[in-house]
């Protein structure tokens, strides 16, 4: 395994975390303005796209997918997934501060556990290096 993440690549992991969490929170805020969607009125989902918060959330989630794929092109899946789980923490903090939702003691404990999990991988190697097959020397 090698550990070759440059500051620019850590920045991309940060973009993955921020776009995922802010995208989810914007969608949640927008959908609370749109109101409940019934299975008999799925057309309301198209109307929801006219809401600027929902549209902002969709744009951020497209950015999330692009940066997530970029990260997967130079890091292991088992490195990227726990590293970017920090977005769960940001969503909980944003829901507390911005959406004024209640964050229980269990949730704070969950946040601490996720931070510990992220800490375990963030300092470790990012990519498994597979040995070159015999005869394929560069």
């Amino acid at each position: 395994m090698k550990h070759t993440l440059t500051p620019q690549r850590y920045l991309i992991l940060l973009v993955v975390v921020l776009t995922a969490s802010f995208g989810d929170v914007l969608l949640s805020h927008g959908m609370s303005q749109v109101g409940p969607v019934s299975v008999h009125d799925l057309g309301l989902l198209l109307t929801a796209l006219k809401n600027p918060w929902v549209m902002g959330g969709v744009v951020l989630l497209i950015g999330f997918f692009g940066s997530y794929l970029t990260a997967l092109s130079w890091a292991d899946l088992t490195f990227v997934l726990p590293s970017t789980a920090f977005s769960y923490v940001i969503v909980a903090l944003l829901s507390r501060v911005w959406l004024h939702e209640h964050v229980s003691t269990y949730r704070w404990l969950g946040i601490v556990m996720i931070v510990c999990g992220v800490g375990f991988v963030a300092n470790g190697p990012a990519l498994t290096e597979h040995p070159q097959p015999v005869g394929e020397t560069q």
């Binding site: 794929l69 899946l77 088992t78 726990p82 769960y88 269990y106 991988v121």
Partner: protein
């Protein structure tokens, strides 16, 4: 309120996790085959990078699996409480990804990564409380 019996509940939750793991592993495998996107973007521009990704059959299969996972989640949520379905499927997906990445992508999932997956898994369960 939970509308499904235990067998149906856990079958639908496992279906969400299995399709999510398939989606993650297929997209990760596709990105590994395509190569470093930063280098491709520097060489062929943003549209070159987008073309390289979207012309990969493995990537498209991964997106299909992700879409299946999304619709399985919607189906599950119509029968099972979100407070059970969301954390259970997310946690199973984390553990399943670690195992599938070791088996199919030959990633070196060492003790550090298993512990990280278990911590995140437990954290997700606690967040739903």
């Amino acid at each position: 309120m939970t509308y499904a019996g235990p067998v149906e509940t856990w079958t639908t939750i496992v279906a969400v996790a299995v399709t999510a793991v398939a989606g993650d592993v297929l997209t990760a495998g596709a990105m590994r085959r395509i190569g470093d996107l930063d280098e491709i973007r520097a060489r062929s521009g943003l549209f070159g990078a987008i073309k390289a990704v979207t012309s990969s059959r493995m990537f498209l299969l991964g997106v299909l699996a992700m879409a299946l996972s999304f619709f399985s989640l919607l189906f599950t949520l119509s029968k099972v409480d979100v407070s059970l379905a969301a954390p259970a499927s997310a946690s199973l997906t984390f553990i399943g990804n670690a195992a599938a990445a070791k088996i199919f992508l030959h990633e070196n999932v060492d003790r550090r990564r298993w512990i990280a997956a278990l911590f995140v898994c437990a954290g997700v369960i606690l967040l739903s409380k």
